[in-house]
């Protein structure tokens, strides 16, 4: 099914009507499952209505897979129930932690990539895939801090995680750009080194400069159009690894649906190229 997905859009409640009416071939929508973990009511009804017309991807932010603890059983159960109801085309999560000792921190927090962490995260991913009875994709996070204690390079860590658990990867090109800028490495090198086979999905989004630190720090703000540099990295990536389901993410300063859909159409057009080359 994922092979049929081309370019999709992050779905916000403000755009429900337009999303429902959208007829672009192969288009799909991604939501945060946490926003639809309700007993009933209009939210679920909206999502089901859109699901009846378009494939849906569930992009979780709260399984806290990089926490040194098993995923919260109740939360995993809620995700499983939503997945049963929506039958999503894709399910993804982050290489990060958020819930810790019963408190939810609404962010994707960093950790030292040690072998011990790898063992724990692999176990958490395996538990999640067992509960969902399917393969999930794990996303590379944005980095802001220089952390001591990394034993693994991020790409090797993700590759090993995929190997141990059979999970797929979600490559967020904007996160690569933001992290490379903040940590001081070349984004193109990261893109070129990323393994193509496990990639189940690509994310494209906008970023901003930090309000206090300016150019010194880029923030993965999802409040702007995809930057030209990120489009260029994306083109470089799909030329090498081929067409993959690609999502335009936008969470803040939401423009009209048509404006976002134009970004989606641009990605869809770019995806045609490697397809044509492969044919």
């Amino acid at each position: 099914m994922t092979n049929l997905l081309t370019a999709g859009l992050g779905l916000k409640s403000e755009h429900y009507d337009a999303a429902l009416a959208c007829t672009a071939a192969g288009s799909w929508f991604e939501v945060h499952p946490e926003n639809y973990m309700v007993a009933g009511g209009p939210r679920l009804a909206w999502l089901e209505a859109i699901r009846n017309r378009h494939p849906i991807s569930l992009h979780g932010v709260a399984l806290s897979l990089a926490a040194d603890a098993a995923p919260d059983a109740a939360h995993l159960q809620r995700l499983t129930e939503l997945a049963r109801r929506i039958e999503p085309a894709l399910i993804s999560e982050h290489l990060a932690w958020s819930t810790w000792r019963g408190a939810y921190h609404s962010d994707l927090l960093p950790f030292p990539r040690t072998t011990a962490a790898l063992v724990r995260i692999a176990d958490n991913v395996a538990r999640t895939q067992d509960a969902l009875q399917r393969r999930i994709a794990i996303e590379n996070p944005s980095h802001y801090l220089k952390l001591d204690g990394h034993e693994w390079d991020e790409i090797e860590f993700l590759q090993e995680l995929a190997q141990r658990t059979g999970c797929g990867l979600l490559l967020d090109v904007n996160n690569v750009y933001v992290s490379a800028h903040n940590m001081g490495y070349a984004a193109a090198d990261y893109i070129d080194a990323f393994p193509g086979d496990p990639v189940m999905e690509i994310h494209l989004a906008g970023h901003a400069t930090d309000p206090q630190l300016g150019d010194a720090l880029l923030v993965d703000s999802h409040d702007a159009p995809v930057a030209p540099e990120v489009w260029a990295l994306y083109e470089r990536l799909i030329k090498r690894i081929g067409a993959k389901p690609t999502l335009i993410e936008r969470d803040d300063k939401l423009p009209a649906f048509d404006v976002l859909d134009a970004e989606r159409a641009r990605a869809a057009t770019m995806l045609q190229k490697p397809l044509a080359e492969a044919a």
Binding site: G41, R101, A103, S106, L109, F111, A117, Y144, D148, L217
Partner: protein, 273 residues
């Protein structure tokens, strides 16, 4: 196992210990930062995490309490929300549910002392969220109720619909204040200071609300406790001997206050045997 002297950097920490210290540091003042986190906090970028965690909570409270927000303004609401969030982070990630105790927080919140109606308004914002996310269930409509009435309506046990929420406010016109600030109703008409009740329901896909008198609230309380219609109406009459019971039941049925699930009570079933 913790040693008496903490290491000076995050190097060699177990993942759990790293997360304990990092989580504590997200909300800590600078003098309360664990030594293991000093090198991280020294980086200006650490503020990105602090800001994002707090902003997530504040945004959620602002979204979940729109009538409170309209009454006090963005700046006041976000300052109060920041204090609330520092005191109690979400315990689960569905942020629509966050802030269940915000009304109680406002009751104790010194700067809100001059706005005695604010906790009540927060309570109704919370009722809206609960009604919005409640489980789907068909409502008991007037024609089904009429069929019941032809049988033995007064021995039926009507169950409040899962989305129905009702509150009686004995001290202030909270319903009017809330409704004016929740919808786009004009706020400039005069406000009569009186006791008021509210009923929120979700008969179809959207939450609706009406004013409800104290007898109506007592009737719903009794139904929720499992009383028969006869006993529930008696509870209403205890509040107001002149209560218009037929009118009240019509109002409640029209609003979608009852579930269509098991509308017949045990007594009725017993008698039919």
């Amino acid at each position: 196992m913790m040693t008496a002297s903490a290491p000076a950097s995050s190097l060699n920490l177990s993942l759990a210990r790293f997360q304990d210290d990092f989580a504590r540091t997200l909300l800590a003042t600078d003098d309360a930062v664990p030594a293991t986190m000093a090198a991280l906090v020294a980086q200006p970028a650490f503020a990105v995490y602090r800001n994002t965690v707090l902003k997530g909570c504040i945004d959620a409270l602002q979204a979940n309490y729109p009538a409170v927000n309209r009454l006090v303004g963005d700046e006041w609401l976000r300052a109060a929300a920041s204090l609330y969030a520092r005191d109690q982070l979400p315990t689960q990630p569905m942020l629509l549910q966050y802030g269940a105790s915000f009304a109680e927080f406002l009751e104790r919140f010194e700067p809100a002392a001059e706005l005695p109606y604010l906790p009540g308004v927060a309570r109704l914002d919370r009722c809206w969220t609960e009604a919005h996310a409640a489980v789907d269930e068909p409502i008991l409509n007037a024609s089904t109720a009429a069929q019941l009435a032809a049988g033995n309506f007064f021995r039926a046990r009507l169950q409040p619909h899962p989305a129905a929420r009702w509150v009686w406010f004995a001290d202030a016109p909270i319903y009017t204040i809330w409704a004016r600030n929740r919808g786009n109703k004009p706020m400039d008409t005069e406000l009569e200071w009186r006791a008021e009740g509210a009923l929120l329901t979700r008969p179809r896909d959207a939450v609706q609300w009406i004013a409800l008198n104290q007898a109506g609230c007592a009737l719903l309380d009794a139904c929720a406790a499992g009383a028969t219609v006869a006993d529930a109406t008696r509870s209403a009459l205890d509040i107001d001997t002149n209560a218009d019971l037929a009118g009240l039941l019509t109002t409640l049925l029209d609003a979608g206050a009852f579930s269509s699930r098991q509308p017949c009570g045990d007594n009725l079933t017993e008698e039919q045997k």
